[in-house]
Structures are given as structure tokens and as C-alpha cells.
Amino acid sequence: MAAEPRAENDATIKTSGTRPILELHHITKRFPGVLANDDVSVQVAAGEVLALLGENGAGKSTLMNVAYGLLAADSGEIVVEGEVVQIRMPRDAIALRIGMVHQHFMLVEPLTVTENIVLGMEPSGFLGKIDRAAAREKVVEIAKRYGLKVDPDARVGDLSVGMQQRVEILKALYRDARILILDEPTAVLTPQEVDELFQIVRGLVREGLAVVIITHKLDEVMAFSDRIAVMRGGALVGETTPAECSEQSLARMMVGRDVVLRVEKSPVHAGDVVLSVRGLTVLDDRKLEALKGVSLDVRAGEIVGIAGVDGNGQGELIEAIVGLRRPASGTVSMRGKDITHASPDDTIASGVSHVPADRHRRGLVLDFDLVENLALGDHRRPPIGNHGILDRAAMHAMALERIVDYDVRTPNEYVAAANLSGGNQQKLVLARELGRDPDFLIAAQPTRGLDVGAIEFVHRRILAERDSGKGVLLVSMELDEIQSLSDRILVMYEGKVVAEFEGGTVDAEELGIYMTGGSTPSQASLKGGGTDA
């Protein structure tokens, strides 16, 4: 069946010739206050990779969650192999042989790989006793058939992110999926792991599966998809193929205007060392060494970027610097003053500000109003805190000033932070942390989950801090972000700084090699412990 003409826009309509296995027709899904999917229709055929492209909040995940039965659409229909189907819950999707790998893995960490894979479809006998040998055998067999090496008896919580992703794919294959949806599968992977993933995907497609990849990364879309559907603001704004478009044209479609893919940056004028970390060793919650003797310096007026796969000690490094985690050995100092064992409050007082990676968990008290949120961390010191008493007037004045300075879009200063959008919440955190006028800023994942406009805002603000002579430590999983903002780049792997580069002297591929523990002869300037340049 050929694709029928679409009325949406000027996008070219293409299929790979075969008839679609999954079709979504006119899906509309409304959340309170947001139209997440506005009459969206897409389809995918067996043996092809469809990229669903759009920035954060464009409605891609919502659409696929509808296809997987995790969300109920307000209207529209789903057609699988030419038949209209009802997908009310994941069980229905599984029965129709649809599999989905979620952005946040749906794995039960204390259970084994085999247990996770068979969960919900366990081979079992009398009284529901699980036939563990049969389960393991089946898992091994599937893993072998698709070339997905994984230890069936390992505890999932002990596996690397890349391995966990394989378990997720195996879960779908164990259920005989012929349609596989991958939601932002590369967000947590190194460039090399991304290559491996796409090898796997290619293998699956050769076996006749249909694959839908949800992503916002233009280069990946260009490299690995057969067809591209672009979403913006909940609507489908175009369909194309890699051959017929460029990254620029895709970006325009995705954002709705021309975007600058690179941030403009003035030359670095690094001054004195602001933050100095020496031989820092930190234990994680399981009492294992998460950070192994790390040394680094951040100078005034420079941005030091830390690249690395999540979980290689970046979190512990930040926690140790800001006083949330007690180091086992080593020192941290701010402008020569030792703050190794300082409490979080003393660390703030010494001039350290911290934009936490998880703004909901650590950045904001969502139930507090904006006034109270904007005082967090400043509340003990004048002008707000005077001998244990809060000066509410000063608190209010400070909040208004910060709301205006950082353009927080809010009806008034008394709404709960929970009611603001993600971008505005992040502005709130920035307003507080930068409004304090710190000497040194740690920005962890500062643009996670934000749309392009908000990302630009955050990047500009961070650069402005640097240009006004602050030291900035940027920790991010987004290599693009690291590369475009950093004056120096450190790569962390298994709790150590394994490489150091001047900004602009290294490509993603090379960073990726270090991020996975490899090394290359072309390395720019590897420094054992990563001391100052």
C-alpha cells in the first residue's frame, strides 16, 4: 500500500516500498495545559529505520508511548499490519509484537538479566514455579542469534549503561517484537557505543524488524535512518530522507527558525586558579572508590568541561566539591582556602555556586513558591537571614530582582515552582545560583531536557559568567555542549581524569575513545593526574 497524500505541509512522502507494519493515524493527545500530540500521523515499514526527530517537548515520546499503550490518545487510531487495533496497555502492545526501549531504562536493578528479560512472560509450571533453566536457555539463545553478548546471570544493577540497553533490547526480542521503538537510545552512550548500537539496529532491520528511533540529534539521524519524521510543538512538521535534506534544513524544521548550531565565544582570558582539587579520592554509596586521586584546577575566566559516560565519578566529584560527600583523601580549595571538609553551607559561603544535574531532586523545592526557592542557600546570611530570623521583605526584593534578571516567565512570584515549565525552572535555578555572584560555578547537565531557546539562554549565561571572570566547571553528557563551551576539556573514566585537551583541539570520536578507557597515539595532551596546564 503506497502512502496516501498528506495534507499537513510541504514535506515529501516516502516509504521504503514495502507496506507499513505500524501506522499511527491522526493521534491527538492533550495534557493539562499542553497539546502534546496534535493530529500526528506516521508510519513505519518492516526492514526500515524511522527517525522521529524533534527537540525536547516536541511530543515524540508521547506519540510512541501512545503506540506502546503507556498513554491513551484522546483521538486517532493505530493500525498494525493493516488492521485497526486497540492498544490500551503495554500488554496489548506486546501481544501485537511491539517492543519499546525507554529513555530511562525499565529494568529492575536487584534482579538478574534473565529475570528482567522474562518478567511478565515467565516459563513456569506447577504453582507458577519458574522454570529457571528454560528461561536462561531462551535468553542465551536469543542473545546469540542477534549477537547481543550479555551475562544472563549478572545482576542488572551491576551492568554498564550500554549493557543495560542490550538487556532492554533483549526484553523486546524475547517477546518476539517485530516493531522496536528506541526512545533517545544514544543519550547515555559514548560515540563508540552509539556505533555498536547502530550495528545492532542494522542487524535487527536485516532480520525484518521495523525500528523507530526517537532522537533530537541531527548527525545520528543523518547517519542511520532510512526515513525521518520531524515533530515540533506536538505536530508533525515534515517527512524526509537523509538523502533529501541537510543538518541545517532539518534543524530549521525542528526548531521552526534558523538556528546557530555553534555558540559564539570570545577568546579565553584565564586568570588565577579559583578552584583547586588535589588527589581527591571519594567513595560512593556502596563504599567503592568512585573517584581515584583526581586533581584539577579551574582558573578565573575559563570553562573547564568534564566529558565522560554517566557514572564515572563525575557525580561524586561534584558532591565532594560542594560538601555533600566527604572525601576519603585529597583536598579541595577555593582561592587557596581549604574547603575539603566544609559543609555545603560553608562551601556556598566560600563562593561556590552549583547548578545540580537534577533540578527536581536537588535544584528546587517544587512546593515552595518562587520567593522561597530563590532564597535557598542565601537564607542564612544577610540580607535575608539575621540571627536566625528571616527578613521577608529582603527575601521578596531579592526574588523580584532575580526573576527579572533571568527572565523567569511566571504569572507572579507566589506560584509554586512546580507549576513552571522545565525551562523556567532551570532559569530559576540559574537565577539563584548566579544571582549570588559566586567566584566559581559548577554546572551539571545544565540543559538537560530543555528546548533550543532555553538551551541558548543557559549557554549564554554560562559564557557571560566566564567572561566576567568566574571559573566554571561544566559537567555534561552532551559532547556537543562540552565541545562548544569548554576552554579546556577533561575526560573522566572510572574515577580518573584520563585525558586533557585544549578546547577546539579534539573531536567527539577521540573524546569517545578516552571516555571508554581507550587511548590513541594522536592524543593532544594527556596528563597523568590532569594537573594544571
Binding site: 493539562p32 559543609s343 528571616l390
Partner: protein
Amino acid sequence: MPEAKIGTPAEELDAERRFALEQQRVKRAITIATPFISVVIAMLVGSLVILISGHSPAEAYSAMIGGAFGGWRQIGETLLRATPLIFTGLAVSYGFRAGLFNIGAEGQLFLGGLAAAFVGLQVGGLPPLVSLPIIIFAAFLAGAAWAFIPALMKAKIGAHEVITTMMFSYIGKYLVSYIINGPLRAEGNIPQTTELPIASQLPRISDLLPFVGQNRAHIGIVLGIIAALIVWWVLKYTVMGYEARAVGFNPAAAETAGISVASTTIKSLCISGGLAGLAGAVEVMGVHYRLFDQFSSGFGFTGIAVALLAKNNPFGVILAAILFGSLSAGAGTMQLEAGVSQKVITIIQGTIIFLVGAEMIVTWAVARVRGRKGV
């Protein structure tokens, strides 16, 4: 600001702001509506129970209202019973504000009563303006001390305060039982302490305002209202109260902002315990003038219902305490006149907790009403 133009176009932006405002309003409406709707439904459940037991709900409730508000004497009885509930309600709600469920307020109340009885006997020679504050302070300290070990265990190793404060509640009751049977036992057949000297007793309102006639209400109710004011002020205008609320809502964010979660937890649970201790003090100093086994009729537990119904608002606590005080004062009359067991008020209490806890019922109702109005 040039940044104001970045990102979202203006018309979407307004929708965003409108939405935030709307969310806020709905939430506030629900917060205010929940307690009222819950009380109404709970009273209906109560009347159903009365009906099933073969009595007339109308008769029972009118007897109850008469018993609670029928005259100065009855109003005095309502206030008398509301007084300890203000303190336990404040105690439980202060804990809730800091994310702690002080289910063991009853035990802290016992210790507060013990301290009041003990110190009250020692300071009887002093003028009341000196002795009364000393006794009250001692009772606060005793209640706080009784919450200290559970607080420490919560802060340091995460032992759930629901279990530990409950266990301390039992331990406290046996401790009081030992003391009134042993060291502090007065002469006579009944295990109880000696009566407090006049200087250690809280004056009755009728002593100060003779026109209210003979009733048992004492100035503890005024102390309760003052305590509510102080709690409100602490929560809003002190660093400690602000930090307690931050920890209660989101300990991880509070910690990141330089707040010590452990010390806030300890302080908050001890303050909660201290407030519960005051409930014991007003009972000993204002009602019984001595300590004995049964001097509290579960005020600590009713305090949970008071706090929940008040949505942890200190002024709401006063209103909720008066409501439960009137139920308790009217229950006796109801039993006498309508023959309905006064235990029905415990059922009403339980139902209120159930309904306030299940806010979704009310959320759903509010959403429907708003939907009908086309908002």
C-alpha cells in the same frame, strides 16, 4: 531585557503563565475545600453507623451539639477538650511540615504530664507568674527529650519515626505507670500523684471572667492560641522554620542548599515532642491537678486527625481542635440522651483522616464543580 525575546513566542508564553496560575488556583481551592468536604462526609458516615445501631442520627447529633454548645458550661467543656488537642495538633503538624510523622505524640504528652506533675509539686511556693512558666518549660523539655532518641535514630540511620515514636509511646506510658505507683505515689488506694499546689494550677476562665458562669475551661486555651501564633511565626519568619519546611518538602534540595537535614530533623521532631509535652502539662495543670494512668484520652492520636484536617496550618489547628473538642464534649451527652456509644466519634475521626488523606476524592469533586462552571 533582550533575553526576554528568546525562545517561546509571546502568545504561547501567555498560555504558559495562565496555566501556572490556573494550577495554583486549583491547588488552593482543593486545599481549602478538602477539610470541609471531609468533615461533612465523615458526619454522614457517622450517622450511617448510628442508624445501623438502631438509633436516630438526628437525635444523636442534636444531643451532641447540645452537649457541646448548649450553654456556657458546655462551651467551656468543648474548649477544655480542645485545649490539649491544639497542642498535639500543633505537635503533629510541625512534624509533618518537616516531613516527619510523629505518631507517638501520646508518649511525649505523658512525659510532659509527668514533668508538669513533678516540677509543679516542687515550685508550689513561688508566685504563679514564676512557677507556671517554669512548669510549662519543663513539660516542653520533657516532651522534646522523649522525642530525642527517635529523632536521633531517624537522622543518623533512617529508622522510621513511625515505629520508634510509637514504641517510645508505650515505654513512656509504662514509665508514668511506674512513677505514679512508686516514687510519686500519693497516699490512698488510687495510684496517682498528690494534688498540685494552687500556684502550679492554671486558673479557670470563670475565675477571670465571672460572667461565663461555672465551667471547667482554663487559660490553657489561651496558651494554645499563643502557641499556634508562635508556631506560625517560626515556620514563616525564622531560618529554622524555613529549613524545616524545605527538608519536609525535599530533603535532597535542602541539603544542596546548605541545610543540614540531620540537625533539622532532630530539631523538628524535638519541637514536635515538646509541643505534645505541653498538651500533657495543660491536662495536669488545668484539668486534673495531678497525674494518673488515664489522664489522657488519646489526645496524641486525635492530634493526628487535628493536624491532617488543619492541613498543617497552625490556625487551622485551632479550628480543627475545637471541632474535635466539641465532638468529644458532646459525645457524653449523646450517649446519655440518645443511647449511642460515644465511640462513634472515633469512627468519625478515622473517616476524616481517611478522606483528608485521600485528597483525590476531593480533587475529583473540585474538578467536576469547576468543569461544570466551565472554568
